[in-house]
Symmetry: C2
Subunit: 309 residues, 2 copies
């Protein structure tokens, strides 16, 4: 089979075929996984039938762990093809104020990520003790992250074969951050296999979904000693860069800020379209980039080779 | 099969497996396509055995078509896994000064892109007239682009089955730009299937390879009326953003500038590591981004919810 172009340019049959492919591969929760054959897929007016297209690039979530605390942001755009776009919350908060606060941001197939969250909320039975394990009764953040992994594997065990038979990847990933009183604040990224990595001070952020457009600004501006709301500002610029380049990422944006050792949300906010601060941030960033660009001198190479032409 | 994480973070077995996959899938030109089994792949000391890893993200080329002319830039990093990195020219110029100038930038599997270029240089026989068709005797830029497509299909016909049997995608793409005296300057992007799109004034640039990191600055700063060397400057900033985030893209950078209706290179230059102008551009851009970031006010949300915490 010949390769398929990865970019969004173009009007050729090749791109059309690609869009059709994206449109076709949607899930119908409650009715198993289906692969439609005629684009555009006709979905029932049931909003639960709106699912994320598989593959990367249709969500952007970013978690930042700095000395002062934790920032997590997530967009809310969900789609089952360009002709079916909806708003679903991807940032979920679990807390007992003052004792623990945990947040999960999800990317990937919405049917899978919702099933994982429901499994975690209902709890998983420990095979040895019979105890029902949830995030809220996990002894440590590490064990809570393991429980997310176990929930992913449980959903995979239930859904994986049926999805595979319909050629649907088991595509899901999570950011998981928070703090339990008496332990340190931690941030993890959990993979589709249920394994995970932890954020460290060298690179104090993790991303899931469409991560590339928004990474350069994080690489340049984010470090462990950044003030907490400055870290939010950088994350919002990163989100802006992503939204400008990928229509699959969009407003509103959910924001959680947790200050170290408080074990409660310092900020739990939704940025809606047209909000003055975010609108101003986007305008200022654009204007500053234009100015920065103008202030760089013109390349001098022509002078070197002037004699040639 | 479970999904594979698309990002470069992480030290888990999942990432290790991914890197191994990248390392394994290399081509050995002159010996057919092989899929090694033991990482790291041991390549012969023959430099021709150094090939690009398949898949996107290991090259960055950008073409810009503005009123004043054409800019094409390409990095030169080529790799067969992280343990085998080399420098290969990806920007190739075909010209009869004053009569025509054409340039091809390539991304993808190096064995394939080199075969396509060699096929074009040797020429393809027209089945009806018996004429040997090359880029330099193409009547129009459109027909020249069609010849690139035909060369890709010829290489696919020869190599495709053997590559497929080794599970190697036919991964190659080209930017093709230039002008023939008496016609307008044109810029195309040619896909692995040999079909192509043409750059227009609305979005006056095309990219191949690792295009995401460098796209935001193009989207913000590039338009059809930008001066030619300003367009080069923006392209170099775009290249800088890409190189900072993807080790698969690296210096030196090849640059071609063609002024409209001149049909000769205005600039044919290689930017080497440590070159003062490019070094200065990178420093200024970084400093300007930091300043832009600092000049955006801190998010005001905390004030709104101050009563809460």
């Amino acid at each position: 089979m010949r390769g398929v172009s990865k970019d969004g340019h173009g009007l050729s049959w090749f791109e059309t075929a690609q869009v059709r492919l994206l449109t076709m591969r949607v899930d119908f929760p409650g009715d198993g996984a289906r692969l439609g054959l005629e684009p555009p897929v006709k979905l029932a007016s049931n909003s639960a039938a709106v699912c994320q297209v598989r593959g990367p690039g249709m969500t952007y979530c970013c978690g930042v762990l700095v000395r002062d605390g934790l920032v997590m942001i997530a967009d809310t755009r969900t789609n089952a093809g360009l002709d079916n776009v909806s708003t679903f919350r991807k940032l979920h908060i679990f807390s007992k104020p003052g004792e623990r606060i945990m947040a999960i941001a999800s990317a990937g197939n919405l049917a899978i990520s919702q099933s994982v969250l429901s499994t975690l909320t209902e709890g998983l039975e420990d095979p040895h003790t019979g105890e029902i394990e949830t995030l809220l009764n996990a002894p440590t953040m590490f064990q809570a992250a393991q429980r997310i992994g176990r929930a992913i594997r449980a959903v995979h065990a239930t859904e994986g074969v049926a999805l595979q038979s319909e050629d649907i990847n088991f595509d899901v990933s999570f950011l998981f951050g928070g703090q339990i009183k008496g332990s340190r604040m931690r941030l993890f990224m959990v993979y589709p296999a249920g394994n995970f990595i932890e954020c460290t001070t060298d690179t104090p952020y993790l991303q899931i979904g469409e991560h590339k457009y928004g990474k350069p600004v994080l690489d340049r501006a984010m470090h462990y000693d950044v003030e907490l709301y400055e870290a939010l500002k950088t994350s919002l610029i990163s989100m802006d860069s992503t939204m400008r380049s990928n229509l699959g990422v969009g407003l509103p944006i959910d924001v959680l800020i947790v200050r170290t050792d408080v074990c409660d949300a310092d900020l739990n906010h939704r940025i809606e379209a047209g909000e003055p601060y975010y609108h101003d941030l986007r305008s200022r960033w654009s204007a500053a980039l234009r100015a920065a660009h103008q202030n760089i001198p013109r390349p001098p190479y022509k002078t070197e080779t002037q004699s040639k032409s």
